[in-house]
Amino acid sequence: MKGKKYLTIDGNEAAAYTAYRVNEVCAIYPITPSSNMGEWADEWSAKGIKNIWGNVPVIAEMQSEGGAAGAVHGSLQAGALTTTFTASQGLLLKIPNMFKIAGELTSTVFNISARTLATHALSIFGDHSDVMAARTTGFAMLASASVQEVMDFGLIAQASTLESRIPFLHFFDGFRTSHEVAKIEVVEDDVMRAMVTDDLVKAHRRRALSPDRPVIRGTAQNPDVFFQNRETMNHFYARCPDIVQKNMDKFAELTGRQYRLYEYYGAEDAEKVIIIMASAAQTVKETVDYLNANGEKTGVIMVRLYRPFALKAFMEAIPATVKSICVLDRTKEPGANGEPMYLDVVNAINEGLDSGYGTLAEKPQIVGGRYGLSSKEFTPAMVKAVLENSGKNARNHFVVGINDDVNHLSLDFDPEFSIESDKVVRAMFYGLGSDGTVGANKNSIKIIGENTDNYAQGYFVYDSKKSGSITTSHLRFGPDPIESPYLITKANLVACHQAVFLESTDMLKNLDKGGTFLVNTPYGRDEIWNKLPREVQSQLIEKEAKLYIIDAQDVAEKSGMGRRINTVMQVCFFAISGVLPRDKAIEAIKDSIVKTYGRKGEVIVQMNLKAVDNTLENLYEVEIPAKVDSDTSLKAPVPAGSPDFVEKVLGEIIAGRGDDLPVSAFPVDGTFPIGTAKYEKRNIALTIPTWDPDTCTQCGKCAMVCPHATIRIKAYDPALLKDAPSTFKSVDVRNKEYRAEGLKYTIQVAAEDCTGCGVCVEVCPAKQKTDKSKKALVMEPQLPLRNEEIKNWDFFLSIPEMDRNKIPLNSIRTQQLQEPLFEFSGACSGCGETPYIKMMTQLFGDRMLIANATGCSSIYGGNLPTTPYATNKDGRGPAWSNSLFEDNAEFGLGYRLAIDKQTENAKQLVKELASKIGDPLAEQLLNADQSDEAGIFEQRERIETLKAKLNEIDSPEAKRLLEAADYLAKKSVWIVGGDGWAYDIGYGGLDHVLASGKNVNVLVMDTEVYSNTGGQTSKATPIGAVAKFSASGKPIKKKDLGMIAMAYESVYVAVVAFGSKDEQTLKAFLEAEAFDGPSIIIAYSHCIAHGIDMSNPLKNQKAAVDSGQWILYRYNPDKILQGENPLTLDSRPRKMKVGEYMEMENRFKMLMKSKPALAKQYIDQAQLDAEMRFKHFQYLAAREGEKIEE
């Protein structure tokens, strides 16, 4: 392998690799897409991997990025080499400290996987809006364009910060670079030692605070001196670029890889030049090569060091012949005269020419444009369009990559333009999240990277769902380093890993002529052609493609792999692509299996090896007929007759054509309609529940636990059944009151929306009389039932909802008749959070505003294309918004303040207009009892009467009251989020809101880790659990948030677990809502990150409660006034040991299997903690109440 050491890794690992080796302390906090950097550092630290000085860096997870920045600042001040990793909102939270760190000339490197800042919407993807927001902090900014550069520049930045004393922000494109897997040359420790010399480290340490040579830093200064003092550091900034270039040169001597601050690439006599930063620079570089080879005179200046902006060096990088320059910014600064780098360049060229720097003969034309926001594709076709945008008609302040039909700023480009090299093999794979496609592809890249001289690149695209998500893998292999940071559009091979994609996804649009299409299908050689839609057939014929098929599911199952077809499809890829000789490929795959799965045990290794052996004999080539003869076409993404916006906008996004939507398709302020998830019929369940009415006890638990609201219950007039489809099931209702009315009862599943988790079957308490293996709900294959159940579901929806006033809320049995206003979310199959949200919307959805902290619940609650929050027949439903991760409690309190103010205004107007609207009505409106459904219903009726009267009164007050009248009806504020928010980053705000006395309800869905970012430790994580950032088990017990809230004595507190006591959960929601003050419900939420069987998760909830690990209680301050003990302990003494519960979950078991002695110590401690806590609660709950004297 050319005598050099190579690794096939992604950008985050490359960044962490260098940062870990040249630092001693890392303060971290999870945020996409940078979380992995901290995770790598934590794992290496847990394994005892050492830095270049032979010690193991300390990794400290903080409560927020703000906290991490504070810890970094402190650690730097106390003399340790310290780093951190972050992105986006996390970087924003670090900005205050960054000003301080830079102001104190403190050496550090922050590694940033640059990500979009949330504006009209959140986006986890990449652009430079975050780093550009930090450009005034005084940090130097160094941009990496590739995975290789990430590893290299991390070191150059470290050496430069120590020498220059300017702190560095080392950034690279989020996802595009942070998650691109590439084969790169490793920077050896010797190189690191040569770059980061001991004298630099010593100087850093000498500047540290120490009582042995005390100084004071961080003083407060006055107008007399602050300004002068601020100017003292200018020469440090002036020297910085030269230091960076010097270190780049030194690095080149050590490694052979030469970089420049402003690196020109292209024709020596270039006339058109693009100036650009980070990964897109590679796209321009590639395109420039192609265009110049075709007679153009173009070039690119890749900006590495953006701050301090080195005027002279920049000017010297521009060829003398340049006539037009285009500056491309991957950010948007609304209201500015141009984006930041464009303005920098305009100024630099003016000032540079005045100063006589560089060789430019005359001032060139300079235009600026935006590209690539939120990882929008930036392709050679766009580069070409940008280069062509020069001369007299050049458009300034343009956008490229989108169709701007509103402002008409977009450049047109030819989507067919491609510069892909014949030497590069390009393959695309469409898989399901659960089938292992991405993992297999990452593995293939490693195999090729490590077994051949070829270079490899992998990039993976995921959709926005947590269950049934489609993944698309883009792989390139070739003899030269691959510098194509954009998606493949002309693939030599397209692989469809799930036959269901053939129904609706146009995969062949990206197949190059003469390419190969590989399909995993249960159909044989003779059947497959007829099963392909017309669009697929015609493209196969037109593109003169080859077609291969395999029944990977069958091979996987016979090899013991279940639904994981990864290894099977990987073998097919190698067999067909010819990237490696077949025998060598098989051998390499087998070696890789032993290496990859070895740590998972011999059994897993053997089943994968068996799958390899079984694959080739089941892989067939299919001859392609000359004629299109299929009866089927690709399915429309949403049902015919869907609302216009759903069909024209959301449907296009669902179909994967969101990139083609023009600017005019979108709302201006991020406001979207709700209730659109029902149009996205995903059909992801392999099996769905079927109902046996005779066995059913009508307990309602199935509907209660359903995470996706796909099991519904109705009780209704039997007369409605006359139009029912033939397979529609119904039975006499069991409830006495309804029975007296002769109502019928139906439990119906939404077959196309169900995810097939099976939790409804787990909870079902009724077993069939003659076969106890079956319950009143039985999972059956979805496909044969689909069509009839679609009809049944539609009929079910046509049955009117029961009058809410007739639904008793004192038991799950009847409460579950309430219509959920949260349905079909993209949450994980078997999710433990969504049943709480669904119940909340059933109870209060028609009058609630939700403030949702960023996290799982904001993703499944508000990630496009569709929205699960829904409306009732009156058009009422939850109004939902997400502000940030850290401010959610405050955001929700803001709702309350606004509502209360508007209610107060409305009441004042009612008083003022009492005589005109009638005193009795005014009296009733002002003093209405709205503590229950009936009260709210009556008040709404009064408001309608009021509005009718107001319409007849011609006065400004009447008009104002007409606008405000709806605020006379109760509005319920719910503040919703996970434990990462409530226990950590948002805790300060939550505490303040609980102390406010305001009538808000807080729902904390406690999964005991940061679930959305992949299971990092929070302060809710229990002792002994293995989680990211706690690879050796969490050493400290869970924070007792309920106890802290109870300490106020004025906050309603409930701790619930629906899988253990659903009735207690229901009570808690009702009491929280009824309490006229702050309420908090802390809800046990089982989670995929616990390492449990998500089709059977309720047993874990039960065990958590039965062992005393999770104690159920309700604390109602209203009871104090009634002379009662406010605390009701709903848990019973333990039925099992905490250790037995822990044994049921992989998060605890991992430690038992890796560090048994430590695990035992934690289990014993957990047992002791549980017993002491329970005794404490027993004591508190047993106290007698005291009569409060009036």
Partner: protein
Amino acid sequence: MDLSTTYLGKTLKSPLVASASPLSEEISNIKKLEDAGIGAVVLYSLFEEQIRLEQEEYNFHTTQGTDAFAESLSYFPEVEDYKLGPELYLEHIQKAKAVVDVPIIASLNGSSIGGWTDYAKEIERAGADALELNIYYIPTDSSMTGAEVEAQYVEILKAVKGAVNIPVALKLSPFFSNFSNMAKQFDEAGADALVLFNRFYQPDIDLDEYEVTPNLLLSQSSAMRIPMRWIAILKDNIKADLAATSGIHTGTDVVKMLLVGANVTMLCSSLLKHGINHVKNIEDHLKQWMRENDYNAVSELQGSMSQKKTADPSSFERAQYMKALTKYQL
């Protein structure tokens, strides 16, 4: 008073042996057992099936949901030193050997021939003094004949004996058509001891939930009757040592087992019920009985009431209650 006995080629200071149970999961308990006077300790069983299931379970949980959603491409950190094979068990043997002097007998339940032999070798390498094969198997395949079942047992024994040099005991159930023939086959195949008998896990039914529930009942003294009978019958007919297990709760129980010919008597339920120190009580009772009956050494009473040495050998053979009639011959 000499309580020593021989078992699996070792001289034990006492015929009281701790049988495989959760007690031996703690090294501190093993030490306590030795301090209480135990003669040897059989460790809890290593189950091949459990290892397989745990590997599958770990693979499932560390794979579930991965590479599916951009923000959470995995849910657990990679743990390098995760012990999914027999490592923890082997370490346990080493630790036990380091803290006690009494012999440590490992116990193995395999589910494949390869599994039986591979793990047996690793157990030997880890330093176990002997190995007890815990063949715990309920034949439910109706196409399998009794002979095939028997052959499978013998095959396992032979394979393990061929793989290791340490003595091998066989823990068995009594459910064979002709147990004495079976014992002979095992004897010929090289079994160093037979442990009589394994108590099967006997599931119960929960009538509230209509579920089959695990319900391991602790043994009563009455359970010792079956092993006692078979030890008496086998004592003078096979070479292999005989270990009595099931229902041994008191010193009197131990005496009876020794009388019929047991090399050792194994304790489980009684220790789980009364605690480890109960070993001392049993030993005291045993000594008291020996004193009262003028025995100075366990070896003197061992086998003194085997079938051959009883006045009425047929008494061990009767299957149904019938009045014990003296055999009259003209």
